[in-house]
Subunit: 201 residues, 2 copies
């Protein structure tokens, strides 16, 4: 049973970290985050083992947004439009936040909180893919996890040439990737789909 000020500080820290990461990227100092939260910097390490874990926690919070959107889209009429809207939202989440793409690339995939929410996104995505496939909108060899990885890829592609990815270039690559997902003219894939479990060890 945690103390009242502890739960309050944890929340303050998460909020401050989310804001600082979003504004200044994942290299902001712990001191800065602690100051913004109004606590001593020692407190940060009482709530999170490491800076990476704090980043991971913020990261998976953001991913939960995407899970929520995906759940809602599960009940949409147009299964094809639903899947593509899901992907669009996913890329937007990446692009909105200065640290999100960095985090997606830098965070160890074995971080517990990251794995957990990645699993949940993949699960919703699976449902959306299945429905889109029944509607004949996507090829039958792609999975939900494929979708998650590809939308992250679309977001990252843009970073290589644009400092400030607030633009709309990502829409170009998302559209290209979506064309690759369609059943028309699909060539068999050389490698089986990944699973999250395979890398747990």
């Amino acid at each position: 049973m945690p103390r009242a000020d502890a739960v309050r500080n944890r929340r303050l820290l998460m909020d401050a970290a989310a804001a600082e990461f979003a504004e200044n990227g994942m290299d902001v100092s712990i001191t800065r985050i602690a100051t913004r939260a109004g606590v001593g910097k020692g407190t940060v390490f009482r709530h999170f083992d490491t800076k990476e874990q704090l980043l991971a926690e913020v990261f998976s919070d953001r991913l939960e947004e995407l899970v929520a959107v995906g759940r809602r889209l599960t009940e949409a009429d147009d299964a094809e439009a639903a899947l593509f809207e899901f992907m669009t939202t996913g890329v937007e989440i990446h692009v909105r936040d200065r640290s999100f793409c960095q985090a997606a690339a830098a965070l160890s995939p074995s971080e517990a909180s990251v794995r957990a929410s990645r699993e949940r996104v993949a699960e919703v995505a699976d449902t959306l893919v299945d429905r889109a496939r029944e509607a004949g909108a996507v090829r039958d060899d792609v999975t939900g996890l494929d979708i998650v990885l590809l939308l992250s890829a679309a977001a990252q592609a843009v970073l290589s040439i644009d400092e400030d990815p607030q633009g709309s270039l990502w829409q170009r690559y998302l559209a290209l990737i979506i064309d690759g997902l369609r059943p028309q003219g699909a060539h068999p894939l050389p490698v089986p789909a990944p699973t999250l479990g395979r890398f747990t060890g």
Copy 2:
């Protein structure tokens, strides 16, 4: 006219940095690189303004490998196979080197050496795309720069779930993206192709 030991040290530093970055990622310390090169760490900053610039220099050296491969493929008989082999080599270069994907994501696109070699890769890629297009192998709204960004994206997609990307999963996403590049069933793209110059300022 630089002194003889200066040009020698510069080369030693580039080699040491390339090796250390490849083995340990882009977070290896300058001290470690300097030690491996057999020079004092002050010397590093005599040759490179900043650690980021050193990384950029190593990065664009690697990119030149891809330029060389692209040049050779320009004269291949099968234009379609040539383009796809170019992309395969590009992803392999990303995946081979522990730091390459990190660098692609973290380096400021305005770094001079990065911009320069990125421009040269895009140029070769343009030639390869044009030839592939004439052969009817790719849609007519993609450019060489698109290709470069997309092959980088394919490499990065894999990093999200696999610690050690020496595997072959990237082949799956490269194949998917290549399917999106084909003319069959291509939908018009919502956003025009990027140019490198646009972001110079």
